[in-house]
């Protein structure tokens, strides 16, 4: 029995000594962390997407506590309520930002943009852009290898197998901007989320002259400038044969959409236009009554 007793005593004493050492170390080298950093980190999504410009959620939380104001600090993933809660913890007024959403500015689907070759290299848009101009006649449009899809950490962007173009899930999109950086053709843009998520934008980035662009893609912007004339709010500019709608100035009147001969301006999330039905012919009884 004595050897059991010896073992228990030796182990017990060792545990006691080590425990005391650990306690002493934890008291001596205690790191004083602002408890607010932990609180804010818990509120943040924890995806470490980097959309705020900091290397991760913890670094963003630390910046929130350290800085004197919330200027320039905004987690694009959080809702305004969460930002308000963060502001309440830090005690600074929150900057109210306009919520944004990623928009894919290319409509060059397989039907609209005939292919001129086959790209069978490494499945990456960046590699495809480097090897050659892609497998279509358009040197500006979507390459369709899905670099934006693999960049998205919120599962908000998917390739549509029908069109070969990426589709943004506007519910899931947090406007972190990862896809914008991933796209070698700079097709994706962060645009304001308007009321009811309504948007009007030029779904093309082709800077070629009209005939060249038209040959490459049926819905390419040809830089005709009709939309510029149609816009009453000076929201549309034409540069390098390409129209661009400034989302800050656009009032969503949709005049440009009707004017565009190429259908390259898209209006999304609008209710279907009411078709003005011809007045029903009056029945014989009605005519008699009159």
């Amino acid at each position: 029995m004595s050897f059991i007793l010896t073992a228990v005593l030796v182990l017990g004493l060792t545990a006691l000594v080590l425990g005391l050492v650990l306690y002493a170390v934890s008291v001596k080298f205690k790191v004083q962390e602002d408890p607010r950093v932990g609180q804010i980190t818990e509120l943040l999504p924890g995806a470490n997407c980097g959309g705020c410009g900091f290397p991760g959620c913890a670094a963003f939380a630390e910046a929130c506590v350290k800085q004197d104001s919330m200027d320039g600090l905004r987690c694009s993933v959080c809702t305004s309520e969460v930002m308000q809660q963060i502001a309440a913890i830090t005690g600074h007024a929150v900057q109210v930002g306009v919520e944004k959403v990623a928009v894919v500015r290319c409509s060059g689907s397989c039907a609209n943009r005939p292919s001129t070759g086959v790209y069978d290299g490494a499945p990456s848009c960046a590699a495809a852009a480097l090897m050659n101009g892609g497998a279509t006649g358009c040197f500006y449009g979507c390459l369709g290898c899905g670099d934006c899809v693999s960049a998205c950490m919120f599962d908000a962007i998917k390739m549509d197998p029908q069109t070969g173009l990426p589709v943004v899930d506007q519910e899931k999109c947090t406007s972190c901007g990862k896809c914008v950086k991933a796209c070698p053709r700079n097709i994706i843009e962060l645009r304001n989320r308007n009321k009811m998520d309504r948007r009007v934008y030029v779904s093309c980035v082709n800077k070629d002259k009209g005939p060249v662009a038209k040959k490459a893609c049926a819905v390419a912007c040809i830089g005709c400038g009709k939309c510029v004339k149609a816009c009453a709010f000076e929201a549309i500019t034409l540069q390098d044969n390409l129209a661009y709608i400034d989302f800050e100035k656009c009032r969503l009147c949709r005049k440009c959409v009707d004017e565009c001969p190429q259908q390259s301006i898209l209006a999304v999330n609008f209710p279907p236009k009411k078709v003005v039905a011809p007045a029903p012919e009056k029945t014989v009884e009605q005519q008699k009554a009159e």
Partner: protein, 445 residues
């Protein structure tokens, strides 16, 4: 026989056109001259729309120190300066010239007489080469006048002439050697004079016994020029591989140059261009292009004016076979696929290759099985599987640490991979990115 030590593969040689004499192709209707046909800054056009030009008229000036001028290979009028899709698959600005007649600049000596006497000084020769827009004809298109002025702290002792032509299918250099040996020897002497040395070694792969025998007989009376037959192995025509095969010296990783180990390497085509530039006052306006492919009716070696559309070459060779799946500018290992046959012949176009559909399609990619065949094949001693993985994960730091900038893009790794992974595509992507990062870093410091 010597060869380089690390890596390398043995692709099927397929030199279908080795015994076809060089034929001259007719003038095109319109010639197109992309402004970046060389490594370095694009050339700057010095003609405008409507200008009349002669054969040999300079149409673009060098755009910087590392750049080369471009000359018209036809006479006629400048139609426009616009974008063209060249062999890189990207759109680049180019000068379009409508051909009218065939009027040459009077200063150019068009006769075939061999000129032996060279009274020009070193500086005059370099100026001549620079004015003629001569670039490396092996494919990389490095401006020759820059290569002939090695950094001051390097002592050059050997000029190596690259007559290896290790790329399968291509025979342009081989034919040039057989048909113009005397001009090439004069060209070598000119370059030796510029470098101020007296030893040149011509490296020829053993699959060209006729060229080896011809040059051995021609150089018995010439001191300083040595012929070195080399054991066949791809990519022996790579500058660093050739230096190792010929001298046994290894070039350190970039930014070190071949000059750091006392060598200057020039392609045999470049030597011929130097001869024509210095002795005949003829700028670089023509080159030999091999038009080939297993199914091609009449594979041939053609002397082509720069700017001729590829379609005209294909037509001469009997048209494109119906089952062509891929059209390549260059050889099968390092060539670039063409989007269509309208691309013009440029200074670096060594061949036009048509590959049948069943051989052109890439097979489905599988997972890496860690067999390390790519590591064994890499002539630079790199680990392609690792570089490709780092590139796919966008880990540019890892790629840089593993010497991605040493990659010569020879394609040995991709050709040996049993899982058919697109290793070279990934490596090229990472090389491009890391190169950008390094340039940005250097610009900051």
């Amino acid at each position: 026989m010597n060869t380089f030590k690390i890596g390398g593969v043995h692709p099927e040689p397929n030199k279908l056109t080795a015994d076809r004499k060089i034929e001259t192709l007719a003038l095109p209707k319109q010639a197109v001259f992309p402004l970046s046909q060389h490594i370095g800054a694009p050339a700057v056009p010095c003609v405008k729309k409507g200008d009349a030009v002669l054969v040999g008229t300079k149409i673009a000036e060098p755009g910087g120190f590392m750049s080369a001028s471009i000359h018209s290979s036809v006479s006629g009028k400048v139609a426009k300066i616009d974008n063209v899709v060249d062999a890189s698959g990207l759109r680049k600005p180019a000068i379009f010239i409508d051909v009218e007649g065939d009027e040459w600049e009077p200063a150019i000596d068009r006769t075939d007489t061999l000129m032996l006497q060279n009274n020009k000084s070193r500086e005059e020769i370099i100026e001549c080469i620079k004015n003629a827009g001569v670039v490396g004809m092996g494919g990389a298109c490095f401006p020759t006048h820059v290569k002939l002025c090695p950094p001051k702290d390097c002592t050059i002792d050997t000029l190596i002439i690259n007559a290896v032509e290790c790329e399968p299918f291509l025979t342009a250099d081989h034919r040039l050697m057989l048909e113009h040996p005397d001009e090439i020897i004069v060209g070598i002497k000119i370059i030796l004079k510029v470098l101020g040395i007296d030893r040149a070694v011509i490296g020829i792969e053993a699959n060209k016994p006729d060229a080896i025998a011809l040059f051995q007989s021609k150089t018995t009376m010439v001191s300083g020029i040595e012929i070195m037959p080399l054991r066949m192995k791809y990519p022996q025509g790579g500058e660093k591989q050739l230096i190792e095969a010929v001298t046994g010296r290894q070039v350190p990783p970039p930014p070190a140059l071949p000059a750091n180990v006392g060598c200057v390497v020039q392609n045999i085509g470049t030597v011929f261009a130097v001869y024509e530039a210095v002795m005949k006052n003829k700028p670089l306006i023509e080159r030999i292009v091999t038009v080939t492919g297993k199914e091609v009716k009449n594979p041939c070696n053609l002397k082509v004016r720069m700017g001729t559309p590829v379609s005209q070459l294909i037509e001469y060779a009997g048209g494109m076979p119906e089952n062509t799946g891929k059209l390549i500018s260059g050889g099968p290992m390092m060539g670039r696929p063409l989007l269509d046959d309208t691309a013009p012949v440029v200074k670096g176009t060594s061949g036009i290759l048509m590959i049948p559909e069943e051989q052109a399609a890439r097979l489905e990619e599988r997972n890496c099985i860690r067999c390390a065949k790519c590591v064994q094949a890499c002539p630079m001693g790199l680990e392609p599987y690792l570089l490709a993985t780092a590139s796919a994960a966008q880990d540019w730091e890892c790629a840089e640490e593993n010497w991605i900038m040493s990659c010569i893009e020879c394609g040995c790794c991709q050709s040996t991979c049993p899982s058919r992974r697109p290793l070279l595509d990934w490596v090229r992507l990472a090389k491009n990115r890391v190169g950008g990062i390094i340039r940005a870093r250097n610009a900051k410091n």
